[in-house]
């Protein structure tokens, strides 16, 4: 019984301007790759300015190979109007070689196109120079010494003879000269994010009042990701405030997790820490009496003694002056107009193996969320774990080492 075998066809796209610039920005290239996702689900970023697109089976949808290449050019030029070389072949070597061989029809043409036919092999590569092969300088010189200048000459040699003279690298070069390349395309994983938002009309009073909404948004995003077996590694929360600048908080999770309660609690504690920070930020500048600890980062609270000129700056206008000292007036509760929650760094939640088998490890993972919130509340350096270093050392500080949790 005969089976029809579909040959892999790859489209290589090379942008000379991006390749030429050493420190070319990768941002437009990323956006081009995003645009190519609309053409094929398998797109590989080989390097900055070089992309491979798997076009196997796209014919019935988009037409001939030339039309598919033209469509790819159109999609990428919508992002950035750069010239591009397109090459098509049965494997990644032939596709990229075709892109190198592509010549522009006329000066100023947006794209050049070259394609090797199906089952292209040593016949089509026979007359091409060996300089096109990805060989190092020493290997090239040795090939020259043997009088090998064309791919056909290398392809016709017995494989054992090439292996004896040039080793495994030589055998690989010969396979390329014959048009063989076993390396598969490795589709990139698109760095994606999911987001959900809510607008409040009228605006909510106070940051603390967004807690319920935050919990609902986190649950909604977790449900969406659960169906795809993904879990977020970071959340970004954007609060648009009335009469105040936008408040943006990015929080990395202890591990990828689909736990809306934990995520919401951690974000709220992070929000509270961010909201507390500016309240006490000025208090260290004036010499005064130390009266206690602040509630944010345990910085000493100092009060400004009325009439004292020790401080480098005068207290701000919003300071209440008393006979004892001055306190900054607590800022009014901001009014929240909208909230946007974004999850990114999506990962496979099943990658954590140990907690799946050991209950204590799972509980420790859960505890890490609480510890992260404690870090927000009390500041870094409070929570540590010890590791044994040299148990027989004479000095206690050399026997073990304390590691800050979360650092």
């Amino acid at each position: 019984m005969r089976r029809s075998i579909t040959r892999t066809r790859l489209l290589a796209l090379v942008w000379p301007e991006l390749r030429a610039a050493e420190a070319a920005p990768t941002r437009p290239f990323e956006r081009m790759l995003d645009a190519l996702d609309d053409l094929s689900p398998r797109v590989e970023a080989v390097a900055n300015g070089v992309a491979l697109v798997d076009m196997t089976g796209l014919g019935p949808m988009w037409g001939t190979e030339r039309r598919i290449a033209a469509r790819a050019v159109m999609l990428t030029r919508a992002v950035a109007p750069l010239t591009v070389r397109c090459g098509i072949g049965d494997n990644r070597w032939l596709a990229t070689l075709a892109a190198r061989l592509a010549r522009f029809d006329r000066p100023g043409a947006p794209a050049a196109f070259h394609a090797f036919g199906v089952h292209a092999g040593r016949a089509e590569l026979r007359d091409l120079p060996l300089a096109l092969l990805p060989a190092d300088l020493a290997t090239r010189q040795r090939l020259d010494l043997f009088g090998l200048t064309r791919m056909g000459q290398l392809a016709d040699l017995p494989r054992s003879a090439v292996g004896a003279q040039f080793g495994a690298a030589g055998e690989r070069l010969q396979a390329l000269a014959r048009g063989h390349d076993p390396r598969p395309i490795v589709p990139r994983r698109r760095p994606e994010h999911v987001e959900a938002g809510a607008t409040f009309e009228p605006a909510l009073e106070g940051i603390g009042s967004v807690g319920l909404t935050l919990r609902r948004l986190a649950a909604e995003l977790c449900d969406r990701l659960r169906e795809r077996h993904l879990a977020p590694g970071r959340a970004t929360l954007v609060l648009r405030l009335e009469d105040a600048p936008e408040l943006r908080v990015a929080q990395q999770f202890p591990q990828p997790a689909l736990e809306p309660d934990w995520i919401a609690r951690l974000l709220i504690s992070r929000l509270e820490a961010a909201a507390r920070a500016p309240f006490f930020s000025y208090t260290n500048q004036v010499g005064g009496n130390r009266v206690g600890q602040s509630s944010s980062a345990n910085e000493p609270i100092q009060i400004y003694v009325a009439g004292s000129q020790e401080g480098p700056r005068q207290p701000p206008d919003s300071v209440i002056t008393t006979t004892v000292g001055t306190w900054r007036e607590p800022p009014p509760e901001p009014r929240v107009a909208s909230v946007l929650l974004q999850f990114d760094r999506l990962n496979d939640p099943a990658s954590r193996q140990l907690p799946a088998f050991e209950a204590r490890a799972a509980r420790w993972d859960e505890l890490r969320w609480s510890l992260e919130r404690i870090r927000h509340r009390f500041g870094p350096g409070r929570l540590r774990r010890a590791t044994a270093e040299r148990p027989t050392a004479a000095l206690p500080e050399h026997r073990s080492r304390l590691v800050d949790i979360g650092s």
């Binding site: 345990n298 505890l367 350096g381 540590r384 774990r385 010890a386 073990s400």
Partner: protein, 266 residues
């Protein structure tokens, strides 16, 4: 934990026990109900578990180890953490003075992997940190070592106690050599430790014998006592041969002639 219904003392038995211990009750007063099934964390010493009645330190409660410095409170607390870890628990040590030596803890059987060490700045912050950890409900046993600091605010301790009771999963031991009076008024269990003898092999001291008395117990009858042998260096994992050869030495004799301390079980 005792679940045998036959072991449950009747009211008459309880009153007899109280009278025998000299802890007479006011006429007409009703004893608090005994909680036979109260969850607990093992102390690491079966004799003390029996004396406590609840099978160990009760969960969801504050326990004060009332002991002078050097009377074995730290060793007993570390043994408790080791026992809690053996049962699959997570533990924490709030070290106010920064005197905890993790290497010593490891020698006493504490797995550093499951031990959280917190370094608060003052007693108030220590109590607040303990409350945060208790609220998570994931720590089985935590030790609040106040060291030489004064006792924290009583209201903060009350708040910690109510949080512990609400979570019901964490057993908190308080080591307060200097502030035992204040702390002792709010805890659910108070155990006094007195050294009765050193334990020595020849002229080498290998441990101490401690008399533990349950002076207060909110969920069981107070007055129980136990003799505990606390071994230096190895904790409960002392070599049985060494333990069998150890002889009690009167602490007065030791004080008169300080022995040469040598490491015999490193």
């Amino acid at each position: 934990m005792r679940t045998d219904a036959a072991a449950a003392p009747s009211l008459e038995t309880a009153l007899e026990t109280l009278r025998a211990r000299g802890l007479g009750m006011r006429r007409g007063s009703e004893p608090a109900p005994l909680e036979l099934t109260r969850p607990s964390v093992p102390t690491g010493h079966p004799a003390l578990d029996v004396a406590l009645g609840t099978g160990g330190w009760p969960r969801g409660a504050l326990t004060l180890l009332d002991a002078r410095t050097g009377s074995g409170a730290t060793t007993l607390a570390l043994g408790t953490l080791a026992a809690a870890q053996e049962a699959g628990g997570l533990t924490a040590w709030l070290d106010l003075d920064g005197t905890l030596d993790p290497a010593v803890a490891a020698r006493l059987g504490v797995s550093l992997e499951w031990l959280l060490i917190a370094r608060p700045h003052d007693p108030g912050e220590a109590v607040e940190l303990a409350a945060w950890l208790a609220r998570s409900g994931l720590i089985d046993a935590l030790v609040l070592d106040l060291g030489t600091h004064p006792a924290p605010d009583r209201r903060a301790l009350d708040r910690l106690g109510s949080l512990l009771a609400r979570s019901g999963s964490t057993s908190a031991l308080v080591l307060a050599p200097t502030g035992g009076t204040v702390v002792g008024a709010v805890v659910g269990v108070r155990v006094a430790l007195h050294r009765t003898a050193w334990l020595g092999v020849g002229r080498d001291l290998v441990g101490q014998r401690v008399h533990a008395v349950v002076e207060r117990h909110r969920w069981w009858l107070a007055g129980g006592s136990a003799e505990l042998d606390l071994w230096f260096g190895e904790g409960r994992r002392i070599d049985p041969l060494l333990a069998a050869r150890a002889q009690p030495i009167d602490p007065v004799e030791v004080a008169a002639e300080p022995p040469v301390l040598r490491v015999v079980s490193a």
